[in-house]
């Protein structure tokens, strides 16, 4: 992930300098330098907005800006064309400094049809730049979304800088000699739009041209058409009088190194491949397709050259069952899913707790309950991850904080699973999964060596009453409490494990009351003991003496961080605490929380972490929650934090509130 530098205050999007330039044909065009921009591309599900957004993101990343993205699309693959439910959008913020969120609201909205305009205009602040495809504003399309009059003509868009461009017909004009039919040519209008935006924001174009050539290498005429449309859009910007200004956003200062653009699901999958290599174990993924986790299955299935086996199971239960079976055989067993899948996997997670085998369970959370909001983000599986099993079945829970951080979180999940012989819950979410950011590619030598965590047992570790050496599968490492792990194929170590309660050391079936009490407490102590292997609580408090702290976990890191920056730039003090490990908590967390007069906990659920913190530390955590399927807006969070700071200092000073 990109490092945060608390000393860099965020700056608004106001123009800094204006540099006149000239375009061919004598048209004078000026270049305005901005420090950051938020662009939202909105269109029909079939308009290719996600692809356009991803391409613009890649151009922007390779240019060197910092960025965050927010794809937002419907669960329907193709909702009826031109309707509100069919609108798909892609927002990104890019800047000459490090950014923590995709932006609260767009500065620029591109609306490819009336539905996209209607669905998104409310979020474009007054005076914002609005680019619409005028060709799509036909009576039929207007009627579909309930526009009585054409907003391009009725004056209702006067509060914005509206640029009405016939994107569709200019695309088909540009492609009239391409040999493509009109319908097919129209499909390239997203590339025309991308070309226009690339001109407006001085983006490098070679990457997109290479991409199109690669993507359509088997259909050279389609590749040529898309490239022609892309170039036509770029040249249109350069020559038209409709746009007299282009914008420059300088590269952001970043730590030296090699970077790439990466999404959360990609980073998570690469983390799992790396964990396999770092532990030396073959990776085995058992998974059933589910939104928004399927891309991890897709990505891992491409890495067979790393010895990665992917198994698309008949259902969620078989997915985790196969992964656990592979773990029993000595593989790094992994299952990936979303909330409804975790519900189905619960019994097998319990079996993994009882058999004390390593297993990584990835939950890419989405809106719930039940099928809920499959394509939208939420953090509402935390308590399910913690407690969603019968019996006392503690499971470590960890969460990444940004798309790139999914890599390190996956390696950490594997470390804990292997070292402690336990299933581990890795809680990503829809925002992290599909969102993207520049990622400093780690040097492989800097990654942790997980081999010592494996340590397969090959020799008896005990003896029977008559002195015969025997293998005791439930004899524990005194430090980690991890049990001895011997794999099939190892002579003399044959043993049986299962879901029935185990006798201490031998692992034989035991119904003895005292043994059950002992084993239940031992399994809990093992998970609690993981705290000894994790770093102290991550507190970001540049002033060092804040009285209010904001605590979060997972993908709220960016919005909370951006809100804290705003607070600090207003002269107030606030500490940001962000948890990677939620079970167990870092050992010093109670002590850290006790330092603050107020603790605010923003979550995309109804207060699940807050519940855990209150229960464990008796701290009066103030929960701030939202379940809108979208990440928090940092301005809203800043308002909540500011209220808390101002009321805290007021009450402490004895002033009326």
């Amino acid at each position: 992930m990109t490092g945060t530098n608390p000393t860099v205050a965020p700056v608004t999007g106001a123009p800094a300098t204006t540099v006149p330039g000239s375009a061919p044909g004598g048209l004078v065009k000026s270049v305005v330098e901005l420090d950051r921009v938020v662009i939202r591309l909105a269109g029909d599900s079939g308009d290719g907005m996600q692809l356009t957004g991803n391409r613009f993101t890649s151009e922007t990343a390779s240019f060197g800006n910092d960025l965050k993205t927010l794809p937002n699309f419907p669960a329907e693959i193709r909702a009826p064309t031109g309707t509100l439910p069919g609108v798909s959008s892609f927002q990104l913020q890019f800047a000459d400094h490090d950014v923590m969120t995709p932006g609260d609201a767009p500065d620029v909205l591109v609306a490819m049809n009336p539905a996209a305009l209607k669905a998104n205009l409310g979020e474009l602040p007054g005076g914002g730049l609005l680019i619409v495809d005028s060709d799509e504003f036909t009576p039929r399309n207007l009627a579909k979304v309930g526009y009585a009059t054409n907003p391009l003509e009725d004056g209702s868009l006067e509060g914005w800088q509206t640029v009405s461009v016939p994107l569709t017909s200019m695309t088909t004009d540009a492609l009239k000699d391409s040999g493509l039919g009109k319908k097919e040519a129209e499909r390239s209008k997203n590339m025309f739009t991308l070309g226009l935006l690339s001109w407006m924001y001085h983006r490098p174009t070679e990457g997109t041209i290479r991409f199109l050539e690669r993507q359509f290498r088997r259909k050279p005429e389609i590749a040529a058409a898309n490239i022609a449309a892309f170039r036509a859009g770029y040249n249109y910007g350069d020559t038209t009088e409709a746009f007299t200004v282009s914008y420059e956003i300088k590269p952001a200062p970043m730590k030296p190194g090699r970077y790439r653009n990466i999404s959360g699901n990609q980073a998570l999958a690469l983390g799992l491949v790396a964990a396999g290599r770092l532990s030396g174990l073959p990776v085995f993924l058992g998974a059933y397709p589910i939104t928004p986790a399927s891309d991890i299955l897709h990505e891992l299935s491409r890495h067979k050259s790393f010895g990665v086996r992917t198994f698309q199971a008949e259902d969620e239960i078989a997915g985790i069952g196969a992964a656990l079976g592979a773990s029993f055989g000595g593989a790094l067993g992994i299952t990936t899913t979303s909330g409804p899948g975790v519900a189905l996997k619960g019994e097998t997670i319990g079996l993994a707790v009882m058999t004390e085998l390593p297993l990584v369970i990835v939950d890419v959370q989405r809106g719930g309950p039940s099928t809920g909001l499959p394509t939208k983000t939420e953090q509402s599986d935390l308590l399910q991850a913690m407690f969603g099993r019968n019996g006392e079945a503690p499971v470590p829970v960890i969460a990444p904080r940004s798309p790139g951080d999914c890599f390190a979180a996956a390696v950490e999940a594997a470390r804990i699973a292997l070292a402690y012989r336990t299933p581990v819950m890795l809680l990503s979410d829809g925002y992290l999964a599909n969102g993207a950011e520049p990622w400093a590619i780690p040097d492989t030598d800097s990654l942790p060596d997980l081999r010592p965590a494996v340590g397969f047992a090959t020799e008896p570790n005990g003896s029977t009453a008559d002195g015969t050496p025997e293998f005791l599968p439930y004899l524990r490492d005194p430090e980690t409490l991890a049990r001895a792990w011997a794999i099939p194929g190892t002579a003399g170590m044959q043993h049986r494990i299962g879901g029935l309660e185990k006798a201490d050391k031998t692992g034989n079936i035991s119904y003895d009351p005292a043994n059950h009490d002992f084993m239940t407490r031992t399994r809990q102590a093992k998970i609690d003991g993981i705290a000894a292997s994790i770093p102290p609580t991550d507190v970001e408090d540049p002033d060092g003496d804040s009285r209010v702290a904001v605590i979060g976990w997972g993908s709220t890191y960016g919005p909370i961080g951006a809100a804290c920056r705003r607070i600090r730039s207003s002269g107030r003090k606030v500490a940001q605490i962000h948890l990677r490990h939620i079970n167990p908590f870092p050992a010093d967390l109670g002590e850290v929380l006790a330092r603050y007069d107020r603790v605010i906990c923003p979550e995309m659920n109804l207060g699940q972490l807050a519940l855990l913190l209150r229960a464990k530390y008796l701290v009066d955590v103030q929960s701030h929650t939202q379940v809108r399927g979208m990440p928090f807006r940092s301005a809203e969070l800043a308002a909540v934090i500011q209220d808390a700071i101002d009321s805290t200092s007021a009450s402490l000073n004895g002033a009326p509130q």
Partner: protein, 364 residues
């Protein structure tokens, strides 16, 4: 930090290293074993008189003939009386959760083709709660042998009817008789395109051992239905076939390459019916050329399916033996081939993978 050889995917894994260490310590694999070598120190806890004892004895005495070392065998079971089986065999074993043994065994067999993987399950475990896993394991053809103990009752939960109980079964949960039509496990398996399907009787040591031998030799998923008597909740369920007086009349022994003639003095036989299926006929009423010669290797499963449909719920005309045994590539072999093929294109380089396609450099 120890240097991890990140560029070398074919470096020995900790799995290889553990097995190599074990070979150093114990010398070559012990494959000359006796039945008692497969016994464990665990007290066998089935009800006295249970058919499971007979099966356990048969399996323990049969396993040495496979010539597979104990450490290379894994028995995975689900939940139910039969699923206690792994505790009584000195191999690796997992007593898992209800219905999921085929799924767990699939992951193990797919990732460790060097092992001999066995599933022990029952009619409730395999056909009710675990029905989905069973059919998918069969169609995938992962290399494992599934022993399905069918006692037509739920024993461990004390006597409810099962998915193989005959219609009208009076049990604790069906005081007026059960309503649902039962599965015929062999028909179900053949319907799922299983490559090996057999059936045997718990008390018939010779017949059971022969079917087990063929099942163990089969590359791919083998399903063996074993009729097993529950003397507590469903005693005598298979007496029609076990009773020397009635057994020969209603049992159709299946032997590859032999005509399907059975019954006292070979009075009955199997012939084709007018709809492409099979029917029972009196041997002296048909021409010898009409009698079906058993062919377990037929690629088309229709014949094996028709055989399985000869029997009724009350067990009359029950074929016993190997219904179907066909060769098809097994899942773990094909998976290993894909991995091998991918490596031929170039062994995975982690540094390259992390970098991906488009990168840029930020200078100091």
């Amino acid at each position: 930090m120890t240097t991890v050889e990140l560029g070398m995917p074919d470096a020995p894994t900790p799995i290889d290293a553990a097995i190599a260490r074990s070979l150093e310590q114990h010398g070559p694999k012990q494959t000359e074993l006796k039945g008692k070598d497969f016994k464990t120190d665990q007290e066998v806890r089935w009800c006295p008189g249970c058919g499971d004892y007979v099966i356990l004895n048969a399996v323990q005495s049969f396993l040495p003939s496979l010539g597979i070392a104990r450490e290379d065998m894994v028995i995975v079971s689900g939940i139910g009386c039969s699923s206690r089986f792994p505790y009584y065999l000195n191999t690796y074993g997992m007593h898992s959760i209800h219905g999921r043994a085929p799924a767990i065994a699939t992951g193990l067999a797919a990732s460790r083709p060097d092992l001999s993987v066995w599933v022990v399950t029952g009619d409730g475990d395999a056909l009710s709660i675990g029905g989905n896993h069973l059919i998918h394991a069969l169609r995938r053809n992962v290399n494992m042998t599934i022993l399905l103990f069918n006692n037509r009752i739920y024993g461990l939960t004390k006597g409810q009817y099962s998915p193989t109980s005959e219609v009208g079964k009076v049990t604790k949960s069906t005081p007026m008789g059960s309503l649902d039509h039962p599965f015929n496990p062999v028909s179900l398996a053949i319907g799922a395109d299983a490559t090996f399907v057999g059936r045997a009787m718990d008390s018939d040591r010779k017949g059971l051992t022969e079917v087990l031998r063929q099942a163990a030799e089969h590359q791919g998923t083998a399903l063996v239905e074993i009729y097993q008597n529950c003397n507590i909740f469903n005693d005598g369920a298979f007496d029609l076939l076990k009773d020397p007086a009635t057994g020969p009349m209603w049992t159709i022994p299946l032997e590859h390459g032999k005509p399907l003639v059975f019954g006292p003095d070979g009075a009955s036989c199997v012939v084709r019916d007018e709809f492409g299926g099979l029917r029972i006929a009196e041997t002296n009423q048909v021409d010898a050329s009409e009698i079906v010669v058993h062919d377990a290797t037929r690629e088309d499963p229709s014949y094996a399916f028709a055989l399985s449909r000869l029997s009724s719920q009350d067990l009359r005309y029950t074929p016993m033996g190997v219904f179907r045994s066909v060769r098809k590539p097994s899942y773990e072999q094909m998976m290993a081939e894909q991995l091998h093929e991918a490596r031929l294109q170039g062994a995975g380089d982690l540094g390259e993978l992390l970098a991906g396609g488009d990168t840029w450099e930020v200078g100091a």
